[in-house]
Amino acid sequence: MKDLRKVLHSAQKVAEQAEVFSASARATTIQFEANELKQVQTKESSSIALRIFREGKVGFAVATGGGWEALVDMAVETSQFGGPANFEFPSSQNYSKVRIYDPKIKEVPMEKMVVMGKELIARIKGHTLEILCDVQVTKGTSSVSLVNSQGGEGGYEKSFFGLGLEGILVRDTDILWVEDSASSCRPDLIGIDDLANRVIWQLEMAKKKAAVCSKLLPVIFTPHGVASVLLSPLVLAFNGKTVLEGASPLKDKLGKQVFDKRLSLWDDATVAYGVGSYPFDDEGVPSLRLPLVANGVVTNFLYDLQTAALAGTHSTGNGRRGGGSPSPAISSLIVEKGGISFQAMVEDMKEGLIVEEVIGAEQGNLLGGDFGGNVLLGYKVENGEIVGRVKDTMIAGNVYQVSRELLGVGQETRWVGGILQTPPLYCSGVSVTTRGS
């Protein structure tokens, strides 16, 4: 905080308003490659960023590993060309408590992380002996501090624990990838059992191969599949910046029914021990549980301070920094669970696909809501039963078309990658293209 105040103080001499933000992190990762412990790594990082309003314009500069003295000059240089300063940095606030730090993180010994990795690999190999697994076990802590010229000030510490596995099984020229991960601010919430069971289920379902023809088919997107295929176009469309510039298909849709009535979606920065949670965003705005879609109706978009000012609205506490200046971004997304079990969805299908992972899904016209790509991991369903893995198969569709009327929203919900909690979604009419037809 002392360094921050120093920078703030010298910035205030040349600027109308100023804000100093610093982030630091330390994480240790145990890495297994091809079932063996290959590397242990520790990463330490710290950065400090300065944003100023000078002569009515915004200037920005960031430095890592020293060089703070140059920050003010650099920010002044960029402010000559900067956009109009049309908002205020938030003044002093009372932030509500969001649980994101578990002191137990300090007590997790590296030896225990090594054992976790070994046990996880042993479980998977117990099912499929020839599989080669890359496993990562990570623990870390990070801290954020912020101070601005309007009296705003805050700081928090956060802990992180993650476990991830990627398995590869090669038979002749056939390659099968299986993958899953789990993360939380609380190490006790991460165990190997759930993860191992999910990966073993993938291996079991992919044991046999199944053929599919080119046509329109119903598709069940598993929580993994939702993250891999449907998430990116939606994240882009709810971003206040995309809305402001008129490039979001949802721009005129506030208060309108765009999605199936059974679909509700939140951005929630207050989830206890969620890795995407925080008490205030990277601009000092308090965090929220923000409904984006309520029973199919579009209710909110994500804003940071500047975008909100330009759009004539308020920041939703979604100003995030990825090394550069703040921009609207999600914290954690939560899709409300529905009323149909995964098993019932499968049984309902005469012919269709279950999609877990698609490669190339982000290469199409994301802004327009298109999705598509090669099914890296997916299964064919015939007469209510999973019959095997599909290969050399592409899917294509549009997220607004498939989610206007869903065949079902699943009962079983789970976290994927620490930032999305979703049930399986059962969609109709996805285009499937395959070789030789």
Partner: protein, 449 residues
Amino acid sequence: MITDVLKGQRADYIEIRCEESQATSIVYRGERLEEISRALNSGGNVRALVQGSWGFVSFNRLDGLREKVALAVEEAKLASREPFVLFPTKPVVDTVTPQLKRDATAVPLATKKELLEGYNDIMLSSPKIQSTRINYRDVKRRITFANSEGSYIEQHKTDLAGRLTAIAREDNEVQQAGISLGSNGEFSAVEGLHEKAGEVARRAAALLSAPQVKGREYTVILDPILAGVFAHEAFGHLSESDHVYQNENLRQIMVLGKRFGGKHLNIIDDPTMVDLRGSYAYDDEGTPTNKTYLVREGILEGRLHSRETAAKMGERATGNARAINYLFPPIVRMSNTWIEAGAVSFEDMIGDIEEGVYVKDWYGGTTSLEMFTFSAGEAYMIRRGKLAELLRPVVLTGNVFNTLHNIDAIGDDLDMNQGGGCGKGGQYPLPVSDGSPHIRIRHCVVGGR
């Protein structure tokens, strides 16, 4: 200082890499200059090898370097793999500086802004254009490398990357088109693009009324840019030995001497090419670089190595161990990757296609080693040997073990593409370039609705 730090440490091998960088980034979103920023970055890392396992520590502050080395050695001792000896490289003391005609990192901010604003105005004033995106970033880095074998290498690198995108809208329909830019820091790569900016905007608007291709197998012709992405995704990644060296089954599939394509097919990776984004003199393990034939006359001839993968496979280190910055250890990566020119003209290639798809320019690409997808920024139907209507953007997919065999014509017009960047193991975007002449692929799956 570094030799002092390494003294008395009990490890088989230790290296230290320090980096200082300065970056400028400019972002337009529609008519708004969204970001114009400068960043200073410095940091370093230590990597230690003990009994076959690695310890790695990265940091922003250089103080306490001796303790950091000790931590890396401690970490390495936690693991217990089979010990091995790194592929030997001669200790080198050298300094490498780029020779640029006009270094982008030295061009005044005002000049960059004015130039980009010009392109933005052209796109925004074009019919049906709702918004634009312009991303520009240049970076200058000084990387110092030293290892316990006596190497001390200082490399100065510059890089420039960017993209112009036009977004067209009509009713609820949103379409976009763009071009990628890149160079080894030469500013000319972003100059004189006024005409291209106009074309991008017109194409985005035309896509609003363009049809979607019907998904199925087609004969496709790839332009040099997209064929370069294809070479990178479809074959380049499979040539990275870290995917292969510990996987007995993959090693059997990727055995040298195996046929992957016709006699006309040659695929090369070469960091020694001058003035390309993927060019460098030493990799991030201090290995001097080489030209590597991955495929020669259709047959697997070589692959890309770090010192570890080379040692474990009994092959030579190729100088392809690269790290995106000091936060990461080096892993096996491509540099400049391309398909060598053949002899077929574009007219001959397209002439006998009854119905096919011509795909141009790059939008993205990815691979699972066996299956890959890549998407075209621009696509047209081919009917009766001629280019026909513009199509909505298409995604193509294939399987490396048969798609390379399906290349039946290789053009005579090699061109290298410098846009984009490569991602692997969380390290993105690494500067690379790729290229190819026009190529024709039979039975290529094109996704569509």
